[in-house]
Symmetry: C2
Subunit: 302 residues, 2 copies
Amino acid sequence: MTDLELRHLAAMAAVADEGSFGRAATRLGYTQSTVSQQIAALERSVGGPVFDRPGGPRPVRITPLGAVVLEHGRELLAKAAALAEAVDRFQAGDGRIDIGTFQSVSTVILPTVVRRLRDEHPGCEIRLSEEEPEAPRIGDLDLLFYDGPLGDDVEHVKLLDDPYLLVARRGAFSEHSVPLDRLDGAPLVAWPSTCDQPRMEEAFVRAGAHPKIVFRTAGNETLLAMVRAGMGSAVLPWLAIHAAGVESDDRLRVHELRPAITPREICLHWRAGRTHSPLAARAIEIAVEVASDLTGEPALEH
Amino acid sequence: MTDLELRHLAAMAAVADEGSFGRAATRLGYTQSTVSQQIAALERSVGGPVFDRPGGPRPVRITPLGAVVLEHGRELLAKAAALAEAVDRFQAGDGRIDIGTFQSVSTVILPTVVRRLRDEHPGCEIRLSEEEPEAPRIGDLDLLFYDGPLGDDVEHVKLLDDPYLLVARRGAFSEHSVPLDRLDGAPLVAWPSTCDQPRMEEAFVRAGAHPKIVFRTAGNETLLAMVRAGMGSAVLPWLAIHAAGVESDDRLRVHELRPAITPREICLHWRAGRTHSPLAARAIEIAVEVASDLTGEPALEH
DNA sequence: CAGGCATCATCATTAAAAGCGATTGTTTAT
DNA sequence: ATAAACAATCGCTTTTAATGATGATGCCTG
């Protein structure tokens, strides 16, 4: 009774529908002989006949036992079909995906990725969570945008180099390209010491520049408001600058730094050794494409 | 994707529970190698890996695809188990049975059969229907009590010979055994010309007796009331007499007829060539037993 | 960093079964 | 009496299931 085969139930259902072993066989693409043996096997496993065979050209009739088996069997077959369909949908890219992200990516890269993903897979469910920058935990996320390494059981792909640029009030610096040491002693507003920030500030030190950090906040809009208000300048990654639309702000100007600070790397992470869903795999592809399109934009050239 | 095997799903569920192919194999009574191949087969059929194998002693982890398969797979396995249990219950004698019956059997035989059946199988559902005597259709009944042949696609077993006896007012006939021809011209109340009735009346004619049928009804109580009221006598099968409790009625007396009229045969019928449910099979056995107990009763002796 | 350990994949082998074609046997319809 | 429709059965081939042995991988420990 434990050796139940879906194939046998399918045969039984076909026989019940057709009223004949032979026609059921035709419908299933088997020979009559095979169906006969399938039903025999099923009857062995349930411990009794499921059809009465009247002999001659009269249709077979289900037995009381057969009725019990058939009733449950059809449900079983329906569930099996549902499984197959769910798998097909999954392989076609439907399903759920959890993506972790952070400020600038949320604004610049993700919207495009999400839109393209939804266009390709209207049935998919995309869940985004923007973690606090202090807690870059991959947790149960499928994908996580982040700008640094994340432990050794995490793999990643680099999406783009995000160069640090100087944002100052228009007129504060005359040249487009500003030498690092010009910032020595200059007032700066900056991020807290999370993310890539410490590494950036080390670059100042190495260049002999010691700017005065007069205000720290993680909020980019707040930082830029401070710059506009004349509190000081800001050194921010291009992505954050672009996200805030600084290029089209008449009161501000974006400068390159000389020598350039090693750009932060925007990466897309996932747990190492885990098989991606087709949806996640596609999301990675799209993210790479989108990032590469961004790289081609004028402001990032050179 | 159509070659899904319950065995493989069971293996998958075990692996998911145990976190290891080997332990799953132990639990299922297979070797690790077998489980490995079962999962491989499952993965072939769903078109992708269902587990990530991190290697080393770390537990395997389900993939997104695996999660989809497992979710449906567990339901499938549950349904399969439900089927098995339903079959077991059925084979143990649970289920439903439809029995057709008629007056005297309803009163004398059936109650005992039903009680014993319910005692043996508390979970069973017994549905009785008392057909009009003119319409002895077996229809969708599993079993039908009836006193005559019922067409040639019906089999039966004889439960008992039910002899015809004369019921008269006490004092109407002095002897216990009444010669048939004493009824010539005598007033009789009788059943309508259904059931076995015509055959019985032919027996009178063959014996040269022509009783006057002064009233016909299918209601036994009515008939007996008429006998008590002096309308005439009645020739009824013992079962009907017994059912009405005539033996303990001081105003009436039961006589044998000489020569005896060939008794009617109380039979239990079912459609020919149909496999019985265990419940129906048992019901037949019980009915035979109950009838044979009745035959042993004094009034039927000799 | 080498060796031990736990784990899964693979391979060759054997046993089982699934499926097929041909045939037989049974029952109805002509 | 035949023919037609049907399922069971038999012998056969191919496929699959399960096994035990072996190899590969990646932890953990000393």
